[in-house]
Amino acid sequence: MVADLIESVVKILFIFSVNIGFFSPILGWVERKQSALMQDRVGANRADVFGFTLIGLFHPIADAIKVLTKEDFVPEGADRLFHTLAPFISLTPAIIAFAVIPFGGQYVLFGHHVNLIIADLDVGILFIFAFASLASFGAVLGGWASNNNWSFLGGLRASAQMLSYEVVMGLNIIGVIMVYGTLRLSEIGAMQVNFFHWGIFLQPVGFILFFTCAIAENKRAPFDVAEAESELVAGYFTEYSGMKFVMFWMGEFLEIVTIAGLITTLFFGAWHLPFVSDRMLVDFFGFAGPDGANILAILVNIATFFAKVLFFIWLQMTIRWTLPRFRYDQVMRLGWKMFLPIALINIFITGLVLLVK
């Protein structure tokens, strides 16, 4: 009982510190630095402590101090309650969604069974979808409560876009679920121990569609019509400042991480190295004794998982800094007239293949 409690607390603290403590501040820096590299610029390098800039890594700290000391501005005529609530609604689901994503397999440690996932729900994937759709309320409420026409238009765009792409995303997932026969993400991960059973090989079309829809769901370029700065100033968060503004940004960055984690779990072998099973890892580290071998295997698996996550974060950033923005109606047309039929055909073909097998 106590061991279970300790395990849960450790796992929650780990994911929480990785996400809130590491990814959300560091991604702001990564975004600046990567875009700078891509664009022949120097990037963030001004914040310094006694002259040391540490390749700009002090910027997240400087930013944090800045946003915490900024005036929390609520525009005249705005709905104070919902205006304040909106950033919370957008940030919370992004944090929670990671609870059902496995970052490692199952191990025996000091006679205790360890499962490297915070909440091993049997409807894990549905849980993520449920919370992802909650996030759209944040955008809609933020746009509506700000009493600003630009925010309002941004909120409208965000709601329409997120709802449409959720449909397609859900249909893409059905292909994956059909192949693996489970909604539990830890099981889907465990089944990909065989390199040729990785989701990317079983559902290649599903992967491309899912990745695209996930970026659209997260409202990042080229799908950032909801906050298109050249059209709608800043879309639904035009009237936000200080910490509330940053909460929208943190939500966006954490969703990048969640998307990367989900893609890794569903399509890229979760925590597995190619051609290496958990059993082989533990045997390989046999020299360290049973517990030591398990600890080393855990570390390798977690590192593998987060390396893959980092790769997909990098990929999303690269896409964001390469492509121009769609127009609103084009985003909708793409979602409903291109992706939806393709997703349906994908399900049909998957079903056919499963039936023949």
Partner: protein, 396 residues
């Protein structure tokens, strides 16, 4: 759906886009009437950058107008310099030396290149292609390095003088130009890869902001926007000035007159302008850069010390300004955005009686409602970028 709309009370959304809006750079206001995202009506409100350029000109000498012209189209000030100088010279009847004319051509084309870079870069930025923006800004910086080498300033050039130039080409200019153009061509190819065949970019600009050729002429379009409609009107070809008739260059034209054609025309004009600069540098004759008319153009220090005529006119032109004969003149050059015309009236005194500018982007801005009505808010972005409205020139 339509029945519901009839029963429900609904009204259009009226919204101010600008003057402080990310897309309305150059400071302009659009008063939009929207149905959802569709533009029902649009009113353009200009004048936020009005500084009274034309009135200021009447209170200075003819030569003091030159720095003001830098602030017209501040993205390509050298062309404004050349345009104004040519107009005054036409009024007086000065034929400048060959070398001066070649250098003016080089300066104009460098300014045109930097203007087109800025325009395409900004359009990319506003359509979300931030990387393309910075690639062309780098290219523009390099061209500005050349302009800095030429006249000491990067933006407000103030390089051309009535009857000549401030100074001759610096040493090593040709070699530096070769280096700069080499890098610029690489960057051009990069941006070409990033945008020209990019499906998202094409979707955003194709068939948006269409202006039929007939309407374009009726609205007074000139420059790249007119050429995008398929009409090869270019002042440099139709009314050659300076030594453009001795240059070998093409005038690119579009087919549809939409934003993509405007983009493509500008991209190609960058190449053509580079060709012109290279030819002019190759053919550059030696000789004086200033006309030998002491009453209109300051002479060299040596002449002022040694020739009584030069000394007297130096004194007179500094205190009273040059005095073109009474009369009026209209002279146009091909600005980066189109026909940039100067209409000058002289009453024979040391100050212009009237200095009127025909800004190329004024008719383009006026046609904005025609081009975007019925489209989406998002269509304003590429259309407004591609007409390249420059506040300093439009509002004066």
């Amino acid at each position: 759906m339509s029945d519901t709309a009839k029963d429900l009370h609904s009204e259009y959304m009226v919204i101010n886009m600008g003057p402080s809006h990310p897309v309305t750079h150059g400071t302009v206001k659009f008063l939009l009437t929207l149905e959802g995202e569709t533009i029902i009506d649009m009113k353009v409100d200009i004048g936020y950058l009005h500084r009274g350029f034309e009135k200021m000109c009447e209170n200075g000498t003819w030569e003091q107008v030159m720095p003001y012209t830098d602030r017209l189209n501040y993205v390509s000030p050298l062309i404004n310099n050349v345009g104004y100088a040519l107009a005054v010279e036409k009024l007086i009847g000065i034929e400048t030396p060959q070398r001066c004319q070649y250098i003016r051509v080089i300066a104009s084309e460098l300014a045109r290149i930097s203007d087109h870079y800025t325009n395409i870069a900004a359009s990319g930025l506003e359509l979300g292609a931030f990387t393309a923006f910075l690639y062309f800004v780098e290219a523009r910086e390099l061209v500005w390095d050349l302009i800095e080498m030429l006249c000491g300033a990067r933006v407000t050039a103030n390089y051309v003088r009535i009857g000549g130039l401030k100074n001759d080409l610096p040493d090593g200019f040709k070699a530096k130009t070769r280096d700069v153009f080499k890098r610029c061509r690489e960057l051009w190819a990069d941006v070409d890869h990033l945008l020209t065949k990019n499906r998202i970019f094409i979707d955003r600009v194709r068939n948006v902001g269409i202006m039929p050729p007939k309407d374009a002429i009726a609205w007074g379009f000139t420059g790249p926007c007119l050429r995008a409609c398929g009409i090869p009107y270019d002042v440099r070809k139709f009314h050659p000035y300076l030594v453009y008739d001795q240059m070998d260059f093409e005038v690119p034209v579009g087919e549809k007159g939409d934003n993509f054609d405007r983009y493509a025309v500008r991209m190609e004009e960058i190449n053509q302008s580079m060709r012109i600069v290279e030819q002019a540098l190759d053919k550059l004759p030696s000789g004086p850069i200033n006309v030998d008319m002491p009453e209109y153009r300051w002479q060299s220090k040596e002449d002022i010390s040694n020739r009584i005529e030069s000394l007297i006119f130096h004194f007179k032109t500094v205190t009273e300004g040059i005095k073109p004969p009474a009369g009026e003149v209209y002279s146009a050059v091909e600005g980066a955005n189109g026909e940039l015309g100067f209409y000058l009236v002289s009453d024979g005194s040391g100050k212009p009686y009237k200095c009127r500018v025909r800004p190329p982007c004024f008719p383009l801005t006026a046609a904005m409602p025609k081009m975007v009505k019925g489209g989406f808010i998002a269509d304003i972005v590429p259309t407004f970028d591609m007409i390249n409205m420059i506040g300093g020139e439009c509002d004066r």
